[in-house]
Symmetry: C2
Subunit: 150 residues, 2 copies
DNA sequence: TTGTGTGCAAAACATTTGCACACAT
DNA sequence: ATGTGTGCAAATGTTTTGCACACAA
């Protein structure tokens, strides 16, 4: 039986071969890591993890592969108020928005059809043709609120 | 009669004196520029404008003053998918969201109470205490759509 | 004098690029 | 041979910082 990971590998291979690029060991290592840890990350975090685990992929290759993965639609860039670019591995998952905790930094994903509808209406009212959209809510998550001394 | 600009100057002076800081000529020049041109900008844009107009404020002072203005609540950082930080002069204006055109880069502001309500509901449902939130919609604006050859 | 502010240049940080070598077709 | 990939180190672009001098309390 074909697992989801298999289909991701196949999709990436297809994307690469369409572009005349090859599925190199380094690209595979990066994809495998993301499949196993699909979530939010930035380039330097990934590089640090690879260094610690002795996974032999250079900084330049990480940046270059991230660009390919974004282009292929496997990663989407998440704009946070940070100096670094954050990415998230979207794979096959549906569109969702983010709640980001100011205290612990955790990122909670949510989907809300009503919210999505409202966004589409607003764009339409303004004559806009949407290509993408993001909703970020910052605050204190339930867990951190529970721990507050005050 | 007290204009809005006067009250902004006063508020900034108050903020500074509360922190034991002074309302220097450079800080005044930056604030005056923003009052007159309240909108979206990044630090390097501002520095370039000041250089062209021969307004004598150094790069370091621009960055340092922006940090103070953010801290004082006069500016808010707008997270775009860019290598530079964007800011917007919020002054007394109500909360609003952004439509950003991929083609011409224009930023349209909008407010939508229903959207805001929905965001609050979603946060509540997830046990989150909101401190701030942003909605960014990217796409093609009405004007650019009109001009498309295709 | 002590605290704070400024400008400059250097440093720091994230990211991109040029180049030489490696590998597969 | 040609095209593509990698790693390294250098370059780039943005933002921050150290330091010496200026100014006001």
């Amino acid at each position: 039986m074909k697992t989801e990971a298999d289909s991701l590998r196949a999709r990436f291979r297809d994307y690469l071969s369409c572009k005349g690029l090859s599925f190199t060991p380094q690209r595979k290592l990066i994809l495998e890591y993301l499949i196993r840890n699909s979530s939010h990350f930035n380039a330097e975090e990934l590089i640090a993890i690879f260094r610690k685990k002795r996974i032999p992929v250079s900084r330049a290759t990480v940046y270059r592969t991230i660009a390919h993965l974004v282009d292929a639609g496997f990663l989407s860039q998440v704009a946070l108020e940070s100096s670094q670019s954050y990415y998230e591995f979207i794979a096959n998952s549906a569109h969702h928005e983010h709640l980001v905790c100011d205290k612990c930094g955790c990122i909670i994903e949510f989907t809300d059809p009503e919210l999505e509808n409202r966004i589409e209406s607003v764009a339409r009212l303004n004559g806009f043709e949407i290509s993408r959209h993001t909703v970020h809510i910052s605050g204190i998550c339930g867990r951190c609120r529970g721990q507050q001394e005050t």
